[in-house]
């Protein structure tokens, strides 16, 4: 069966203005809205579109986290994914460990493509897809805005600093999604009901034989420095005068 494996991460919703705890031990995540990382939602959408085009037969969506991450997996199932896997752990894993988990899943599911978001909007790491590709010894195509799947290869367009780069990669491969790849669909109520009956497998992290990794430790969180309050000017002439007096014009 031709399969696409998609990874999703539960994050603080991107509309939430995140605040640092007063004691510097972390950011406030209690009582805030949690959602699928926006780039991962694009990843799910892309897999579904590929399935609709006939490029694959099954979309499997996987997440790593505590039991209640099933909520986000159910959302992905309601979007149209066929089945879900939760790798359950209370620990926050660094990207290299996440990549190892996805390597195990890739070995088990033998997908033609693993699709991940280009970064998660909480830690902003942008590492997992590339690490998975390295561990799996397969091609990576990161930050993509276009994907065409052929018989045994994929053609992708990547958003790079210089413009748009086209690559050809053999399958299986790992891709990471950029913003302009697609616009994720809205989920309708009947699909939410239907998604409750779709298979969702829970695998304890230990069962995959992946140990924790404590080599990077966060020791303090702080709010960013604030810029001093600025001035308002009335028109373009005052603006030019203000710029000249600051010596920047």
């Amino acid at each position: 069966m031709k399969r696409i494996l998609v990874g999703i991460k539960r994050v603080v919703d991107y509309n939430v203005r995140v605040r640092v705890k007063p004691d510097g031990s972390g950011v406030i995540t209690e009582g805030v809205k949690l959602s699928i990382n926006p780039f991962d939602e694009i990843a799910v959408e892309e897999a579904l579109r590929q399935k609709e085009k006939g490029a694959c037969d099954e979309v499997v969506v996987a997440s790593i986290g505590p039991a209640d991450c099933q909520t986000q997996l159910r959302t992905a199932l309601a979007m149209g994914a066929d089945r879900a896997i939760l790798v359950e752990t209370a620990a926050a894993l660094p990207p290299l460990s996440v990549a190892r988990v996805f390597l195990r899943l890739a070995e088990k599911e033998t997908p033609l493509l693993v699709v991940l978001g280009k970064q998660a909007v909480d830690e902003d790491n942008s590492q997992t897809a590339q690490m998975l590709a390295a561990l799996w010894a397969r091609p990576q195509a990161t930050f993509i805005s276009k994907l065409e799947i052929g018989a045994d290869l994929a053609r992708v367009t990547r958003e790079v600093d210089a413009g748009l780069e086209m690559l050809e990669v053999d399958l299986p491969a790992v891709i990471s999604t950029d913003l302009r790849l697609n616009e994720p669909r809205y989920v309708k109520l009947p699909e939410i009901m239907k998604a409750k009956k779709k298979p969702l497998e829970v695998l304890p992290l230990d069962s995959l034989g992946i140990a924790g990794d404590l080599r990077v430790r966060a020791v303090n969180y702080a709010p960013p420095s604030q810029r001093p309050k600025g001035v308002r000017v009335a028109d373009a002439a005052e603006l030019v005068a203000a710029l000249r007096s600051r010596g920047v014009l």
Binding site: V27, L96, Q119, A162, A236
Partner: protein
Amino acid sequence: MTQVLVVAEHGQGKLSQSTARAVSCALQLPDAAVSVAVFAAEGAAVAAQAARLTGVQRVVLVEDARHAHPLAALIAPQLAELAAGASHVLGQSSTFGRDLMPRVAALLDAPQLSDIAAVESAKRFRRPIYAGNAIVTVEVDAPQLVATVRVASFQPAAVGEGAAPIEAAKPLAVLPTHTRFVSLSTSQSDRPELQSAARVVSGGRAFASAENFQKLYKLADLLGAAVGASRAAVDAGFAPNELQLGQTGKIIAPELYMAFGISGAIQHLTGIKDARTIVAVNKDSEAPIFEVADIGLVGDVFAVLAELERLVGTPPG
């Protein structure tokens, strides 16, 4: 000695300024011995430029026709091999570095830190998370660390008189053939490069069309500035993707940043708030961009642009 290996980013035979900034970050590590690795089809010119950066002790040049267009899958195994003996392997927080370095980290089984913005010690760094809403201090306990450097946070290392030795290297790594470059389309421009420009003017949704967005270029040329855009302007097709600033686009720190018709979502602000002077022009006086602006002007973007063109007059220089 802290052995630091910095990978060079380059294009059209020129070393990118982001490499000089990454070198500057490397030099902040205590007792750093900094080497720069250049991967190119023909890299002599780039290697010579890297060799002249103050503080660089050695340049390692890997020439291979397959590096004519940089591909992470091909560079990573060679860089990982060259990194033996280095405690820190640094790249840039550009699409080049962000693509490459995690692949290197995984091959080395080393942890990676992305977007390091400050060096506290060889083991302790600060980096922004949550679109810059928080700064986390992290401690690393590993013999090897891979990192991308948030280039906007570091001044470029100066170009010196002397030159470090350049060594040709032939890493043994077998290069895969599973990833192939097809083409690169780029909007050619004589304007300064967005990530190193001293002045940047940028536009947002208020421009309403690609044609209107062109109005920004006139002022940019008068100021000798690069042009940037908000995500909204890029999504709407007013501007190409390589102009996007912010959490998921480019992060810049120019002397002057002028935002026209950009509301200032937090995801945008994280890409520009290191600018020395921020100017905001927006018709909505409540737009969040005014919270970070040094100089704010509430008004019609097109009227203000036209007036500025007139006032700024002839191009500098």
